[in-house]
Each structure stands twice: as structure tokens, then as C-alpha cells.
Amino acid sequence: MRRLRSPLGVAAVVSLAFLLFAVVLGPVIWAGDAVRTDTLALTQGPSAAHPMGTDGLGRDVLARVMVAARSTIGLALLATAVAVAGGLLLGGLPAVLGRRAGRLVNGFIGLVVAFPGLLIALVLAVVLGTGGRSAALAIGLASVPAFARLTQTLAASVAGRDFVAAARVLGVGRVRMLVRHILPNIGEPLIVQATLGAGGALLAFAALSFLGLGVQAPDYDWGLLLNEGLNRVYLNPAAALAPGIAVVLAGLAFNVLGEFAAQVFGGRAAVARPSGRSARPVPGDALTVTGLRVSYGDAVPVKDVSFTVAPGERVGIVGESGSGKSLTALAVSGLVEPPGVVSGSIASGETAMVFQDPMTSLNPALRVGTQLAEVARVHGRLARRAAWERAVTRLDDVHIAAAARVAAQYPHELSGGMRQRAMIAMGLMGGPRVIIADEPTTALDVTVQKQILDLLREVSSTTGAAILLISHDLAVVAQLCSRVLVMYAGVIVEDLTVERLLAGPAHPYTRALLASVPDMAADRSLPLATIPGRMPSPADPAAGCPFAPRCERADEHCREELPALEAGVRCWHPVDRPVASDAVRAGESGRDDLRVNGVGS
């Protein structure tokens, strides 16, 4: 019932009332006026007695339009019934027939569906003759292929689901399968389409009658009234407009009902997507971020983040999901979109981004080389050929074999690891001072992960570009970076070297994070170590240290005041003694053991 109060629900109720009123009461109220001829008022314009004027015999146009509602809508519904019945029959056939015959039927549907419905209806009208019933049959049959296609597509999608597979294993016959298992599950979209189809049938019917191929005089429907009205359009335009308006209103009513049905069945909801303007980095030598804050209305996922990255330095940002690390990276490269609001200052040299999913981050419609070369064309003002050559060189730099050939290929022809290499090569095109890599290895398999990390390290040492690596995986960060920023709930809680991280960090959160990394020596009979509690929501206006509710060392002071980042730690009670945890001991024996599972996400 709540849906009925939405604007669409109200519109649907109004539409239904309008249709019912016209069909049920139209002929009752206006039947007399529609046939009464008035020889004193032939083909008159609108007047008080005749709001839409009169026709050639002096009959009231409005009354005739209202009376015609029943036959027009009735015939449209008849045509829809024919279309749905025929469509279910034809579209259900492939599910019942064997594979080969089914493919044949599908192929046939595919061929017929290509022809416009009106053309098919016209051909059928030739065969079936003119008149209301034959026209309804012609329009219905003309829409059968479209409905059959829909039924068949929906049935095929249901046929792949588990419960159908289960029924098949149980030996349920094909016909029973179609009737009991498939049709009930595709009923809802079919009802939606049938309602929308009724609107289409109404318009098609009006078209046929308008052409003189549908309802024949002395019967009349809206199409025929429109035809008569158009013949006298210079004398009384209203006589042509009135049936036209009726057709449009009824068509809209069916559309609204269909949309409403779709909403009720589908539970569609509008999804708001963050997007918009971003702060642009200013040219400079190193990356310097001061007082960075990113907010979405009341929610502030990044609060007051400041750090610097020296030229050639490799810095990792780690944290759980929702700690604000990825948003920090996007803000640094100026890619936060409204309604996100970025404040604070970001000064950096040329940046390059490497994203998490190389499968979607390259433009599928452009050749790899084009996507690389355009950076040099736009920013380096190189000529087309020179830019292309540089692109090939860069692809070669990232160890892509046969770089010249790969440059001419499209992204879908490359493997995931190759695409990520191409992304890195693309980043190198502009001669970046900072490469920002946001989870660059998460979407790749383990052997490729190591290659990409090695490549990033190599690129950094050969070009002198700094690297800002965003990851939830401490092991990945430890492999590549020399310094780590630990983020929690939108603030940097600790800024420390990798050596320090492995030797024993000072912040309780970092320690908890480390402790939750399983290692080769972890006892598999015990559950994985986790940090109890959960991160505060970005919308919480908490005053104190955000980790305090989950922290064993926290006291009243922690809950009231956020400590400053001093000597790399944002904590009132940092851990002084370098106590080696299990994970750290494993890390000392070999960093590569510190892998798997990551932290918290």
C-alpha cells in the first residue's frame, strides 16, 4: 500500500480510474448524444453545446469519442491477449522441444522479430481482411514474435537456475517443467510487458483504423474518428484533436500502469552515485598533503589527513575497508566527484593512477596504444607518430613482449596481468613524479601479483617516481614500500617505516592489525584473529580517538580528545617496548610469508 502513495502509484491509480471510467461509463452516458444528428449544426467548431464541435452529420464529437472508448480499448486488449497467448506458445516451445528443434524455433523468432510490427500487421490485414476483429487479430499476431522472444529469453535465464536444475535431476518432464517451474517464475516481467504491450496495441489499432484498414463505418473507434476529423480538419480542428488526445491519454495510462507494475514486481530503486568536481593537484616536486578532508554531506570519511612523500619514496597506506584510504588516493589525484567535497591542500608533481581492476579500467573501444599515446599527445604535445613510438617504448619498459603488436590490440585481447602492465605503462607516459596505485594487485592472481609489485618497484627506481600504494594487505605493502601510513576511520593513526612496523608498532590499532595477519605458523584449529568491535561510521561526530571503543589501553582521556600525530603516532598511550608478535617474528624470518588474507576486508 505504501507504493500507492508514491507519485507513480498515484498516477497508476488515476490511470486505472480513467480507463475504467471510459470503458464502463462512456457508452452509458454518451450513447444518446453520439447518434443524435443535428442538421442545423454540421461540422461546427467547439461550442457550449458541443465542447469538441460536431461531425459531418452534426453528431457531437466528444460524445462519439467517449462512446468509442469501450470498443477501442476492448479491441486493444483482445489484440494483447492474442499477442501474449501466441508469444507464450511460440516462446515456450524451445523449452519443451529438444535442443535442435528449439534452436530452429529460436532462429525463426530471431528472423521475424527484425521486421517492424506495423509492416507485419499490414501484411496480415491483407490476408485477414479489414474490420475490427481481423485488425485485432492482425495486430496481435504481429506482436507475437516480440513476446515470444521475451518469453524465450526469460525462460532461458530461469532454466539456468538451481531449482530448475534440481527439478531436472528429479526427472521432471519438459512440459511440466515449463508450466510448473519456468512460467510462474517469469510471470511478473511478462505481466509488465503485456501492460506496456496493451498501450502499443492501442496505438497500432488506432493507426490501422486511421488508415481505413481497421474498424469500418458505421462502427467507429478512435482511429476512424481521427480519420474523419482529419478530413475536416480545416473546418473543425477539434474533431481531429479529440480522438488523438484520447489515444495518447489511454496509451499513457497503459504505460503508467506498466511502469507501476514493474516497480511493484521489480522493487526498482533509484541509486544515487557520488560524482562531481575535484581538487586538482598543483605541480611541485614531492607530494604534500595538508589538512585533507573529504565529506559527503554529514559523513566525513576522510578527516584532516596530512603527509608528505619525498621524491622516489615508496609509501603505503593501509587500513580496513572504510578507513578512507582509497578516498585519500582519489582526492590526491583529483578524482573525487560530487557530492563529495574536498578541502585542504594537495601539492604534487605529475601524478599517474593505477587502479584495482585492470579489466574495467581500460577503454574497451580504443586500442591500447591509442590510450597510451594520447597522454603524450595532450600533455607532451608530441606528434601522432612520436607519441605512438613512445607508447610502444613504455609498453616495452613494463616488459610486455611484442610491444608493437600489443599496442595495436584492444584491451579485451590482453590478460589481466598484461592490462595492469599496460595501465602502469600508461601512467609512465606523462613522466609522473608520483604513481598512485590503488589496490593494484587485488584483482590479479598470486603469481602475477608479485610481478606487478616488482614492476612498480623497478619503475620507481628507474624513473625516480614516488609511489603511493593503497592496500588492505600488509604483506603487499611490506614487499614494496619503505614507509607505511596506517589509516583508521578517516585519520592517519600511525606513520612508520616498514622496519618499525615489523619490529613492533607503537599504536594499538597497528598492533591489532598485525596480529590479525595469519602466518605459516598460525594454529589452524583456532579461528582467525580479529579485532573485536567495529569501526565508527564516517557520520559519527565522535570527539575522541576513533579507536578508543575497541582499544584495551583506552581511558576517559582517549574518549574525549583526539591525540595529535606526534613522532609518527596518534595515541595517548602508545606502546613503548618493541614487543614482537607472532606475525612479526614470521615477518623477520622472511617477508614473503606475511601474505594471505589481508586484514579486515
Partner: protein, 323 residues
């Protein structure tokens, strides 16, 4: 492409062409079958009940309807290849002549309407997407979806009537039908508008939704990360990805345009194929109906083929995507 030894592009073209030939065979067979499916005697129906039995028999023989079915089909096929579509039962003129006289008017009208649809819908849809991205300018979004939604559901022949009432009768700005036969550009304005407005609104909506999807994709974020100028971001990176969807729908729209032109031609007394078709159906002049339906159907199939080829060029993945 060199990595695929089987030439996916050629295989794709081959599949599409085979499909075109199959559809064409279906179309030819359907138009042939049409005359034979008519209940009763089509010649008697065409000549009326007052015609003498001798005349009916003579006309039946003339049309070859007394031959065995397979021979009639063979003659029909042979006629198609030699350009002989038979003669009108009413006027006795060759059907091919009628088509040749009238096709240019229909083709030009459809072409002009299509161009108008494309050059309005794609830029407007893209601009609206860039404008209303991520819930910006809710008002403009609502206005656009409302107006375009309304325009998209108003059928072309009703729009034609409304246009006549407003521009020809009330404002007296533009002519409706041409009785002098000069067919100057002025006569194209209202029919073109009637044909183009609905499809343009529908396509504009689709382009906007497609563009919203494309603009929020990862590769567009990559393009923005490369700090390309807005022109390049939209024209080079967004447009090709958007065109595949727009073209697919555009192809459907042309099919609809071709069918819709039948109605619009009848409203404006356009001297094209559409009015010839309707007149022929009413007069039960079956050879003319067959010929015109073949032209319309063939045009739709050609457009579909052209769209498929264009899709294959624009989106390299479409050549490998299906079966």
C-alpha cells in the same frame, strides 16, 4: 587481431550476411504466401462480385494463379531477379514502375528524419548526462525525462495531426500537402518533424542513460586521471562506448521510422510508397502490395545489416561476443 588465426571479423561478417539472406528468403516467401493465404478467390475479391466469370478466369490465368504452386513460386522468384514484380491489377502499370516513381520521396523523407534524429538525440542525450551526472541538477533531469518521455509515446500520426492543427491551420506558417508537385524543402518540415520527434526523444533518453553508465565507468575515471581535456574525454573515450548502444537502438528506430512513414505519408498525402501501399491494400491490388512490402522489408533488413557492420567496426568486442 593477428593473434586470432580464424579472422573473427570475416567470420562475423559471414554470419551477419547469412542471417540477412535467410531473412530475405523469409520475406520473399511471406509476400508470396500472403496472396495464397487470402480466404476465397483473391482475383474475385479484387474485381468485385459484379465481374463476369470469364473476366475472373482470364485475370487468374494472366496472373498465373492457375499454375501449380511450385511453378508460381519459381516464376515469382525469377521475376524478382529480373526486376519484374508483375503489374497492378487496377491500373495495369508495372509494379516496378510505381515503386521507382514513389520510392525517392519515401527514402528522402526517411533519410532526412533519421539525420535529424541522430544529430539531435546523441548530443542532447550526452549533454544531459554530463549535466545531470550523479544527481546534479535534479530539476533539469526531471524536465528532460518528463518531456522526452511524453514525446516518445505520442505516435507519429497523432503528432502529425497536432502539427497540422498548430503550424498549418492556426499559425498558417507551413504547408501540409503539395498539390502542385514541386515538393520544395518547405513541404518536408512538418512530415520530418512528425517522424523524427518521437524517435529523437526515445533515443535521447537512451543515450543519456547509456552515457551515465559510461561516464561512471572505471575507464572514464582512468581518462580523467590522465587529465585529458573535456573534449577528448567525451568525444574519444565516452562516445564510441556509447555509440554501440545508440546504434543498436538507432537501427530499431530506423525500422520504426520506415514503418511510421506509412502513416505519416497518409496524413500529409505524401506521394511516396506508404500511401501507395495503403491504397493498394484497400483496392486489393495484391501485386502492388507484394512489391511495396518487399521494398519496405528489404530496406529494414539492409539497415539492420548496415548497423551490424557498423557495430562490428565500432566495438571490436561485438565480433566475438555472441554464439
Amino acid at each position: 587481431m593477428a593473434v586470432h588465426p580464424r579472422h573473427p571479423w570475416a567470420a562475423y561478417l559471414g554470419r551477419r550476411f547469412l542471417r540477412f539472406l535467410l531473412s530475405l528468403a523469409l520475406l520473399i516467401t511471406a509476400t508470396f504466401a500472403m496472396v495464397h493465404l487470402i480466404p476465397g478467390d483473391p482475383v474475385r475479391a479484387a474485381l468485385g462480385i459484379t465481374a463476369s466469370p470469364e473476366l475472373v478466369a482470364a485475370r487468374t490465368h494472366e496472373l498465373g494463379l492457375d499454375l501449380p504452386l511450385w511453378e508460381q513460386y519459381a516464376r515469382y522468384l525469377g521475376g524478382l531477379f529480373t526486376g519484374d514484380l508483375g503489374e497492378s491489377m487496377g491500373s495495369g502499370l508495372p509494379v516496378a514502375q510505381t515503386i521507382a516513381d514513389r520510392l525517392p520521396y519515401t527514402a528522402l523523407l526517411a533519410l532526412v528524419a533519421f539525420v535529424v534524429v541522430m544529430i539531435t538525440a546523441i548530443p542532447v542525450g550526452m549533454a544531459m548526462a554530463a549535466w545531470t551526472r550523479g544527481g546534479r541538477r535534479r530539476g533539469a533531469e526531471l524536465l528532460f525525462t518528463g518531456v522526452s518521455g511524453l514525446l516518445a509515446v505520442v505516435p507519429e500520426f497523432l503528432l502529425a495531426v497536432a502539427l497540422i492543427v498548430v503550424f498549418a491551420i492556426t499559425l498558417e506558417m507551413l504547408p501540409v500537402a503539395d498539390v502542385t508537385g514541386e515538393m520544395g524543402p518547405r513541404f518536408y518540415v512538418l512530415p520530418t518533424l512528425a517522424l523524427a520527434v518521437g524517435p529523437a526523444a526515445a533515443l535521447g533518453r537512451i543515450v543519456r542513460v547509456e552515457a551515465l553508465g559510461v561516464l561512471s565507468s572505471d575507464y572514464m575515471r582512468t581518462a580523467r586521471a590522465k587529465r585529458l581535456p573535456a573534449r577528448l574525454i567525451h568525444l574519444r573515450h565516452a562516445l564510441p562506448n556509447l555509440l554501440t548502444g545508440a546504434l543498436t537502438i538507432g537501427g530499431l528506430l530506423i525500422s520504426g521510422l520506415i514503418a511510421g512513414s506509412v502513416l505519416v505519408e497518409n496524413v500529409f498525402a505524401w506521394p511516396g510508397l506508404g500511401s501507395a501501399l495503403v491504397d493498394a491494400i484497400k483496392a486489393k491490388d495484391y501485386p502492388v502490395v507484394q512489391g511495396v512490402v518487399l521494398v519496405y522489408g528489404g530496406a529494414v533488413l539492409l539497415v539492420n545489416l548496415a548497423v551490424d557492420v557498423a557495430l562490428g567496426r565500432l566495438d571490436p568486442r561485438s565480433t566475438i561476443r555472441e554464439d
